[in-house]
Amino acid sequence: MDDKYGEDERLLSEIKTGSQQFIKSLFQSYWDPFQAFITKLHGLPDEEIAELYVRAFTTFYFNIKDGKLAPPLRSRLKTYLFGIGRNYLLKRFKEKQKEPIGLDPGLEAVQRLFQQPDIVDYYELEWQRKMVENLLKHLEEPCRKILILTFIEENSDDAIKEKMDIPSEVAVRQRRFNCLEKLRKLVRQRKEAYPSEKPKE
């Protein structure tokens, strides 16, 4: 572990396993520096900065949680979060076709860092999310419930066993795989019915 970012790497592993309460406290503690950083780049009303912050923090959290950002770190975690915020800011201005935001030399390192491909955009999975949300509606209970408890609410097999009154954890796994197969059939039908419907590469 590189000592330079040792503290941040410890924090990173806490974020991966942290409770909702811990994530919320982190969310609150990064707000002030994030607000100051974005204000330095471009004056925006607080309400807009807060909206940008929620998006950036969501991406930040999921990149860590899903292992997209893993040790060894190449920057402070805070810098990583700011970089995501800056990317969203650029995207926002590009969409609104306004003048580009300024960039001072101190931020160039951040800019270079966030041209790395491991930044997953919050919007990138929107198409897949909507597709799966719609297909889940066509899945019968208790299949829908077991998939939501597992993959969305991230319950353990033991918790699912209790919540759904299933005899064993092995039975939970068996049912989940059967339900995933059913969902996959719906995906197949959809792909065959609309072959040109694909997310943007």
Binding site: W31, K40, G43, L125
Partner: protein, 330 residues
């Protein structure tokens, strides 16, 4: 089930290096396996998107607390800055922030006016108190040494009070002006009116549509309304024509007609236009009567639908309508 377990671990980074090699080789050679992986990729990405969305909505709930804390921090900074108690090092950074954030500068100005108003109220209260003391002195047994001193103070107290009342009035006028500029019905509509700049296409032989759009672009609203109204329901561009008819009616102040046109555009269920039509239907109802149940119900619908393209705008509009400034705007 074995394959699925294998695929699932692939997408959740649970494969060993050795397993990954086997996985990649099979992906190259087995087309049915490839199809399966591609289907599950979509499913697991969809689940990931749903988890993100769920977290995003949760974090949005935390946002309100952040802004409240931030406002408190700002007020502390305003007090220090205006009283001259802010350290020089912080002052430079604060002034830079003021220069870059017009909203913060506006809030500082509001705060300055409020302080002036409070001072004025204190001066007014002091004046009343002094008046009471003077009356007491007039009733009390003669105390010759004090009376002239009170008489000497009167003109100055009156001048202070007059100035104080003036400052209070100015403070209120400033706040009222800010509220009207940003939270009146007209101001909220101006902030939220988002007509499509151009039609989906102007090619083809839809002459009525083209002429309608030309008239609308030149702000010849009666002509635009006439052209768009003549496009029949069976025309494939009917939904778009109703949408632009709605814009033309709205921009020329024909709000009931705008409501009808946007409603027809929304009811046509053409995905390209229906959400934009619904948003402008909401604005038209708002313009007609901000207190109407039809407006409240549509606003409620949009704020409850995170998939709607105008969901964020609807949330902001709802927040504005519930704010102190909206009440002050009247």
């Amino acid at each position: 089930m074995e394959d699925l377990d294998y695929i699932y671990r692939h997408f959740t980074a649970g494969l060993s290096a050795e397993e990954r090699k086997t996985f990649d080789a099979r992906l190259q050679s087995d087309s049915s396996f490839r199809t399966q992986v591609s289907d599950y990729q979509l499913i697991f990405e969809g689940f990931r998107g749903m988890r993100q969305e769920r977290f995003f909505q949760e974090a949005r709930g935390w946002k309100g607390e952040l802004l409240a804390d931030s406002r408190i921090g700002d007020v502390e900074a305003f007090r220090a800055y205006l009283s001259g108690a802010m350290p020089e090092s912080e002052k430079a950074a604060f002034e830079a922030r003021l220069g870059q954030d017009p909203a913060l500068a506006a809030r500082l100005e509001e705060y300055r006016l409020l302080l002036a108003g409070l001072k004025a109220m204190r001066a007014e209260a002091f004046y009343r108190q002094a008046e009471a003391w003077a009356k007491e002195l007039e009733m009390a047994p003669p105390a010759q040494a004090k009376k002239p001193a009170v008489k000497f103070l009167w003109p100055r107290a009156v001048r202070y009070a007059a100035a104080a009342v003036l400052v209070l009035a100015l403070a209120f006028a400033g706040m009222k002006y800010y509220a009207l500029s940003n939270y009146s019905t007209d101001a909220l509509i101006a902030q939220n009116y988002h007509p499509r700049n151009t039609p989906a296409t102007l090619s083809g032989r839809e002459d009525l549509f083209r002429e309608g759009f030309n008239a609308y672009s030149e702000k010849d609203f009666p002509a635009a309304i006439a052209f768009f109204s003549r496009i029949p329901e069976e025309n494939p561009r009917y939904a778009e024509a109703q949408l632009f008819l709605g814009y033309a009616c709205f921009e020329s102040g024909r709000y009931p007609a705008a409501v009808q046109a946007f409603q027809r555009a929304a009811d046509a269920h053409d995905q390209r236009f229906s959400e934009n039509a619904e948003w402008h239907l909401l604005l038209s109802r708002f313009r007609e009567n901000p207190a109407s149940p039809a407006f409240a119900s549509l606003l409620d619908k949009l704020t409850r639908d995170p998939q709607h393209s105008f969901h964020d705008e609807a949330l902001r509009l709802k927040a504005s309508l519930g704010s102190f400034w909206r009440k002050l705007a009247g």
